[in-house]
């Protein structure tokens, strides 16, 4: 279960609205490499993880991703507060506005709604951990792309925090993969599913 804490993981207080930027940043809420997909991916994969370290790391990173989802939502919310119709039009925000006004909706920058097809839970820890390593890098690249359009320090600062967390999560997943392979037969790392093919679980 979870307990809500009435605070953000990292403070956000954006005073200048910017609908153009919000249109891009919403992709980290519900886009292909966003925080919603990340949390669902890790929190779903953890059930079939064979070792306690892996169950722990997926639970803890999956939980932190929910905190990041809240942060991205707060950024988009504050960037779109009190917009005028002219600002909405000038920013090309009307395609979002017509469906959601300024409500926070999980969608990609393209407007494509969130889909579970952006993530996988394969029931094979080697496969899943490799997906997670790739996912962290894809999210990091997305934040880098967003940062190229950010000149407001109030926005840049929390985005840089989120970007840095992708790098740390990548490191932790890498360690998780090493913990897993250390426990497996080195001849069979990539030929079996350690969660299903029980006989390959032990070292010779």
């Amino acid at each position: 279960m979870w307990v809500y804490e009435k605070k953000l993981e990292y403070p956000i207080n954006i005073t200048k609205t910017n609908a153009k930027l919000a249109k891009m940043i919403i992709t980290q809420y519900g886009g292909p490499d966003g925080e919603l997909g990340a949390s669902l991916r890790y929190l779903s994969q953890r059930y079939t993880m064979p070792y306690p370290e892996l169950k722990a790391i997926l639970t803890d990173i999956g939980t932190e991703e929910l905190a990041h989802l809240e942060m991205v939502g707060a950024i988009v919310y504050q960037l779109t507060k009190n917009l005028t119709l002219k600002e909405i039009k000038d920013a090309g925000f009307e395609t979002y506005y017509v469906d959601h006004t300024t409500g926070i909706y999980p969608a990609a920058a393209s407007g494509h709604p969130f889909s579970a097809s952006v993530l996988q839970s394969k029931g094979d820890p080697i496969t899943d951990l490799h997906e997670n390593l790739a996912a962290e890098q894809k999210a990091r690249t997305t934040y880098d792309n967003i940062l190229r359009f950010c000149d407001d320090p109030d926005v840049k600062d929390p985005i840089e925090f989120l970007r840095a967390r992708e790098v740390v999560h990548y490191q932790r997943f890498g360690e998780g993969l090493r913990i897993l392979t250390d426990k497996l037969n080195s001849k069979n790392f990539y030929a079996f599913n350690p969660s299903f093919d029980k006989k390959c679980n032990n070292r010779p």
Partner: protein, 92 residues
């Protein structure tokens, strides 16, 4: 920045260290240095959180603060605050 924001900022800094150390220990369970540091930060966080909650209301639903009005009161985490500029009513 108001006193509330300053205190919350301090808690966020300590709590971030807790998140980071806790996660590090998932893959390094034998690291006693990290475990000691985590204990230190947890004690600091508890003291600061207690101070915050006595002044400004609960930070989580499990905290033993019976004031339901303080829980529902603004600001919520995504709200803009201009407390440094304008005094708002917080000590409910």
């Amino acid at each position: 920045m108001s006193e509330r924001e300053r205190l919350l900022r301090q808690i966020s800094i300590i709590d971030f260290a807790i998140i980071e150390l806790h996660m590090f220990l998932d893959t390094h369970p034998n690291d006693t240095n990290a475990a000691t540091k985590l204990d230190e930060y947890q004690i600091k966080s508890q003291a600061l959180t207690k101070e915050y909650e006595s002044k400004f209301g609960p930070l989580s639903a499990s905290d033993r603060n019976s004031n339901r009005w303080a829980w529902i009161s603004n600001p919520w985490p995504w709200d803009n605050t201009d407390e440094g500029v304008k005094k708002i009513n917080v000590g409910l």
